[in-house]
């Protein structure tokens, strides 16, 4: 089974974000990056399917040179080879443009399965995977938490809302977007890190960063959300003093104690 895993590099979850002077995006100069959380689970699922059923796992990531760290980490964890779609501006294109470029980059691979995370932790569009499935003519399922690829047809468990679930059956090739937390993610071993150095990373440069023109969403301004509640901040930097004040407030104001 040949599986392609699409992985995005995003700002580190714990990074303190600062807004740039023009208020058009965050300050990227001193930002640290990591792999998008749910994409990490997509890779883990692909590696487990390969262990069970054999085959090949190809990781594909798009963006400037810095995304090589995501690719190398995936190779160290066990992916067999990689495709890097190179371009400085590719971190900031919309989902339709992203899916169009990715479709071009991976369609020659004729894979049985394409896996990716359910949404990115930066723009959070939650669309690139589904659009890519449409462009590649594949059936898809989103928010998948279990994959059974042992039979002729693919059987996947989808998470619905409010604690409901549903199994879907579909033919291969197919595209699945994977929910975070469906398994425990493995660490790269030293052996894996050494082996990764010899693995192939194919670089692809798209002809245009805005294929099919005309369709885009432009961010005009970013800002910190307005507070909907007047929060009383307690302790003024002294967390222990804050805790003492809080207990008192819970008794006298909120009347809970």
């Amino acid at each position: 089974m040949k599986i392609i895993v699409l992985m995005k590099q995003v700002a580190n979850k714990d990074a303190i974000l600062r807004i740039n002077k023009a208020a058009t995006w965050i300050e990227e100069a001193d930002l640290t990056y990591e792999v998008n959380e749910s994409d990490g689970y997509a890779l883990e699922e692909a590696l487990r399917l390969k262990e069970k059923l054999g085959g090949e796992v190809i990781v594909c990531s798009m963006g400037p040179t810095r995304v090589k760290s995501v690719i190398k980490d995936a190779l160290a964890r066990g992916a067999d080879r990689a495709i890097h779609v190179v371009g400085d501006e590719l971190a900031h294109i919309g989902p339709f443009a992203a899916a169009t470029i990715l479709a071009e980059a991976i369609k020659g691979e004729q894979s049985d399965l394409v896996l990716t995370g359910l949404q990115s932790d930066d723009y959070g569009f939650a669309q690139t995977g589904v659009i890519l499935a449409e462009l590649l003519g594949m059936p898809h399922a989103t928010i998948v938490i279990e994959v059974d690829a042992s039979g002729e047809q693919l059987r996947v468990k989808r998470e619905l809302e409010n604690g409901w679930y549903q199994w879907y059956t579909m033919p291969r090739p197919a595209l699945l977007t994977i929910q975070s937390g469906i398994s425990q993610i493995r660490y790269a071993t030293l052996k894996g890190i050494m082996a990764a150095k010899k693995k192939e990373i194919r670089e692809v440069t798209p002809a245009s960063a805005a294929p099919n023109g005309g369709s885009h969403q432009r961010v005009t301004k970013i800002y910190f959300p307005e507070k909907t509640k007047q929060t009383q901040f307690l302790g003024n930097g002294d967390a222990k003093a804050g805790a003492v004040q809080l207990a008192e407030k819970l008794r006298s104001e909120a009347r809970i104690i």
Binding site: T128, T220, P225, K227, F233, D238
Partner: protein, 326 residues
């Protein structure tokens, strides 16, 4: 020329979702701002539910009908909506940002060579008829104003709670138009939806909930939060990453894929407050947030906040609560 606003009315198991009425409110307010008529669309095997929603103030209700719409699949819903959108040629297509819409709307938009302005919180329309959508990015930490230069139709989804369902306007009875829609091959086959074995813990009745997030850092530290919960006579809960890591069972998870709660007191310890968590607890009476990051979105909805290390806060708070309770 394209005109009007089309709102997608989502239903499951024979009833409209609560968030459908929020989407209706959003579409009606957009219609008022732009002076454009609002049409609702219901996908189903027959017109039963479409007649139900005609009680709201719409220009008309489209009942898109086909036997393949008896149960949801992305293939059938995309074909049906494509048919309706082509026939009506609306300027905007408004949908609720649900798991179901997330599953088919990007596919629908792709058929029109574009993507969806997804997960919006608000819009602002000016006199010239241009619309700015605001969406939350970076897991709720930052808002972005977005304009789209797409030709019609513009597809947009609004997140749960962005509009109030009770603000949707009733009307005098909108006409229902049945539209037989063509649907091609449906490649995915759903089995009946189910719930996992009965949840052992029902947090929906709890008066006090102490919830932990990634800030708790390791499983051994959970005992600290447990002691606080015990002192308050409350229950322990968690955000998704804690249950994903297996530190607490899934029936302790609060949020869109876990339980929805409304206790008198909700104490969020080391939870940043992604929307998926907030939807599960924002109706709590009093919300307390403890987090190291002063910009954490959890503070947006907190009544009391402490910016600092939760390992400083929890033991002191537990002692103080014990003292006050005598």
């Amino acid at each position: 020329m394209s005109n009007g606003i089309l709102v997608f009315a989502e239903h499951r198991a024979g009833a409209f979702n609560k968030i459908t009425f929020e989407a209706i409110a959003a579409a009606q307010q957009l219609g008022t701002s732009l002076k454009q008529p609002v049409t609702a669309v219901v996908l189903n095997k027959d017109a039963g539910l479409a007649r139900e929603i005609a009680a709201f103030n719409f220009d008309k209700v489209i009942s898109a009908e086909n036997d393949k719409l008896a149960e949801y699949t992305p293939d059938a819903y995309t074909d049906a909506m494509q048919h309706v959108v082509r026939a009506l040629d609306p300027r905007y297509v408004i949908m609720p940002h649900t798991y179901l819409v997330r599953d088919f709307a990007p596919k629908l938009a792709a058929r029109f060579g574009r993507s969806v302005v997804s997960d919006c919180l608000r819009f602002a329309a000016d006199d010239g008829g241009s619309v700015v959508f605001s969406r939350r990015i970076f897991l709720g930490k930052i808002d972005a104003d977005v304009v789209t230069e797409d030709e019609s139709p513009v597809f947009a989804t609004f997140q749960s709670g962005a509009f109030r369902g009770e603000q949707s306007e009733k009307g005098t009875g909108a006409p229902v138009e049945s539209m037989a829609v063509e649907i091609g091959e449906v490649r995915m086959h759903p089995e009946p939806a189910f719930q996992e074995v009965k949840q052992a813990v029902d947090l929906s009745k709890a008066d006090v909930i102490v919830a932990i997030g990634r800030g708790i850092k390791s499983q051994e530290h959970i005992a600290l939060a447990e002691q606080l919960a015990a002192a308050l006579g409350g229950d322990l809960a968690a955000s998704r990453p804690i249950c994903d890591a297996g530190w607490l069972p899934i029936d302790r998870q609060i949020g869109s894929s876990g339980q929805t709660v409304a206790p008198k007191l909700y104490i969020a310890l080391g939870i940043s407050g992604a929307i998926q968590h907030l939807v599960g607890m924002k109706n709590a009476g009093t919300i307390v947030a403890v987090n190291k990051d002063p910009e954490a979105p959890i503070f947006d909805i907190a009544d009391y906040g402490i910016v600092g290390d939760l390992f400083d806060v929890i033991p002191t708070l537990t002692e103080e609560v014990k003292k006050l309770k005598g």
